[in-house]
Symmetry: none
Subunit: 210 residues, 4 copies
Amino acid sequence: MGPADIETKPLSRSQRRRRDDILQAALEIFDRDGFEAAKMEDIAREAEVAKGTLYLYFDTKNALLEAVILTAIMPTLQKMGQVAAESTGTARDLLSQQLLIAAKRMASPEMASLLRHMISARTQHKDIAKLYYDKVVQSGLEHVGATLKRGVASGEFRPEIAHVDPLVLVGAHVYTAVWKILFSDMQELDIEKLVDEYLELVLRGLLARP
Amino acid sequence: MGPADIETKPLSRSQRRRRDDILQAALEIFDRDGFEAAKMEDIAREAEVAKGTLYLYFDTKNALLEAVILTAIMPTLQKMGQVAAESTGTARDLLSQQLLIAAKRMASPEMASLLRHMISARTQHKDIAKLYYDKVVQSGLEHVGATLKRGVASGEFRPEIAHVDPLVLVGAHVYTAVWKILFSDMQELDIEKLVDEYLELVLRGLLARP
Amino acid sequence: MGPADIETKPLSRSQRRRRDDILQAALEIFDRDGFEAAKMEDIAREAEVAKGTLYLYFDTKNALLEAVILTAIMPTLQKMGQVAAESTGTARDLLSQQLLIAAKRMASPEMASLLRHMISARTQHKDIAKLYYDKVVQSGLEHVGATLKRGVASGEFRPEIAHVDPLVLVGAHVYTAVWKILFSDMQELDIEKLVDEYLELVLRGLLARP
Amino acid sequence: MGPADIETKPLSRSQRRRRDDILQAALEIFDRDGFEAAKMEDIAREAEVAKGTLYLYFDTKNALLEAVILTAIMPTLQKMGQVAAESTGTARDLLSQQLLIAAKRMASPEMASLLRHMISARTQHKDIAKLYYDKVVQSGLEHVGATLKRGVASGEFRPEIAHVDPLVLVGAHVYTAVWKILFSDMQELDIEKLVDEYLELVLRGLLARP
DNA sequence: GATGAATGAGGGTTCATTCAT
DNA sequence: GATGAATGAACCCTCATTCAT
C-alpha cells in the first residue's frame, strides 16, 4: 500500500509516461486558469493527447484534480519521514533546519499552486485536505514539537517553550504562499531575507538567557 | 469619495435593504458552494427574490462577487486609519495591540471567506486583490513598521529590528485563515492561545536585553 | 367604423397626445433596432413615459407594432380614393400621374420602414399584410387597370395593353424601397431620375404607334 | 480563393453532409419562424442532431444565419459570370435573356427567403448586404448596362437608352419576391405571364422605330 | 392614471462526458 | 488503446409583462 490509499492498476511504461504527461498538462492548465475555468480540451491539447484519452486515465475532471494535488504532495509526504532521522546537533540547529525547510516549502511555487487548488476545490475534496492534514501537517507539527521538548530538556530553550503550540512556528510562513497567489503581481517577496529574519526573531525569543 | 472608487446611484431605504439581502444571500451561497459552483438561482431563492431582481442590483455574477468581497473588506479598510491614532503607551504595547488586531482579523470567519474568494477568483479579479493590497496590506505594514522604528529609537527594541520587514510579523497569522478554510473540520484552533504564544515569542525576541 | 376594424375607446385630448408620443417613439426605435431587438424600455424612454404606461395604451409589444404599422398606412389608405376622382386629361397623363405617385410612395422612407416591419413580423401579423393587400394594393391595381382600359378604349394605348396585369407597372418600383433598406449605405439612389426614365420607358412601350 | 472570403477547414464527407443537414434545417426553421424567433433547439431537432452539435459547425446563431444566406447566394454568385459569355445573337435577345434570368431569380422561393432574412437581420449583418451588393447587384447591373450600350451601338436600341440606369430594368421584378413574402396567402402570382408582359413592354419601348 | 421595481419563462451557449470508429 | 465528433444537461442573462404604490 502506498502513502495514499489510492487503487492503482499496473501500467505499462508508456502508459505511465502518458499519465505523467496528462498530470503535467493538467497542473499547468489548472494553474493558468483555475480548476473550474480549466477545460478538459485545453488539458488534452497541452498533453498532446485526445480528449477521450484523458478519461482512460482519470474518471472525471475532479479525479484529475485529485491526482494532480496528490502528485504535488507526494514528495513532501515522502520527505516528512526523513527529517527526523537527522537528529544530530543542537536542538537549536535542528529547529532552524526544520523551520527553514517548512518556510521554503511554503514559499515554493508548488505550494502556491497546491494551496490554491485545495482552497478552490475545498467543498468537493475534503479527503485531500484530510490527507494533507494527516500526513503532512500533523507529522510536521510533531517533529517540531519534539524538537522543542528536546531543546527544553537540554536547557537550550526556555522552560515555557515546552507548552508552545508548534503551529505558531510552522504556520508562520503560510503567508508567503498566499502572497504569491494574490500579490505577486504587485510586489515580489525576498523570501531568503524574510525567512532569515523570521528565524533570527524566533530563536532569540526561544533561547534561554545565558 | 468613498474608500473604494465605486459609482453608486442613490438608493431608497427599501432598495438598500434589498441590496443588502442579496449581498448577504450571495455571501452565504458563495461560502457554501464556492463562487463558480454557486447558482444565481440559489442566491435569489436565499434572498427571497426573483432571479431577475439580482440583475437590477448587480450587472453580472462577477460584479456580485466583487460587491460581496468589497463589502467584506470595507470595515477593515475603515479601521485601518484609526489604529495609528492610539499611539500612546510604549512601543511594545502598541505593537502588541497592532499585532493582536491583525491576528484577530486573520482568524475571523470573514477573512476565511474573503481569502477563499480572492484566491478562487484571482484570475478575473486582479483589481480586488490590488485594492486589498493598496488599502489594507500596505497601510498595515507601514503602521507596524513605524512602531518598530519607534521602539528602536526609544531603546525598547534591539537596533537590528529597525531593518526587519514588518511582513514577518504581520503575515505570521495568515495561516489561521487558511487553516479555517482547509482544516476546521479536523481540528479547531484555539486562536486566543495561539496569538498569545505568538506575541510572547515575538516580543521576547524583539526586546533589548537589559 | 374606421378603415381598420380596430376597437378604440374614446380618449381624452392628453391621452391622444400621449398615445401619439408612444407611437412616434416606437416607430423610431423599431426603425433603429428592428422590431425583435427593440426594447420596450427604450421605447418608453424615447416617449418620455414609464414602462408601465406603454401597457395602458397597448396590450402587448405586438399590438404596438400593429398600431405603428397601421398609423403608417393610414395616410396611404386615405389618399387611395382621391386619385381616381382626378380623372381629367388624357389616359397617358393620368397613368403618368398614378405611376408617379406609386413610385414616389415606394421610394419614401415610410415605405422602407413599413416594408421592413411587415416582412420582419410577417408570421405574427398576417392581418396587417391582409389589410394592406385589401385596401392599398387591390385598390391601386384597380385604378391603374381602369386607366389602361380607358387608354385602350380611347386609342391612346395599343390594344394588347388591355390584357396587361397592372402589377407589372405598379410593382416596378418596389425595388427602391428594398434598396433603401439594404443598400442605402453603399449607394443612394437618384429616385427622380429613375422614375423619369422608368415612365419614359414604359410609356413609349404602351403608346400605339401613330 | 472562393467567391466569398470565408475561411473553411477541410471537412470529411460525412461532416460536409452534416453541415449541409444543419444548413438545410436552419433554412427551414428560419423561414418558418423568422430568424429571431427561431430556436437553436428546433433547428437541432429538425437536423436530427444534438443542440451542441450545431456549435461544432457554426460558432453562433448569427454565424449560422450568415452561412444560410451565403449558401443561398452562392449559386447566384457563380452564375453571374457565365451569362456574359453567351454574348451571341442580337442585343435584344441577349437583354431578354438577361432580364428573364433576373426576373426568374427574383421570383424564386430562395430569393424570397434570402430577402426576408437580409432585411430582418439588416442591422447585424451589413457585410452580407455588402457582399450581395458587390458581387451580385453591381455585376448584374454592369452586364445589363453593357448590353444596352451594345444595342445602342448596333442601332437596335434608341440612342437615349444609353443613358438609362440598368437598375430600372433589373430591379423591376423585385416586387415578385416581396409579394411572395407578404401576399402569397392572398393571391399567387402567375410569374410566367408577368415576366412575359414585362419584357414585351420594356422591349417595345427600347427598340428603335424602324 | 402613472410609475418602475419585481417577476420568471425562455434561449443561446458551454463543456464534461460518452461512444462509434 | 486512442480518437474526437457528438451529446445534452446546466446556467447566466434578457426582457416582456405585471402590480403594489
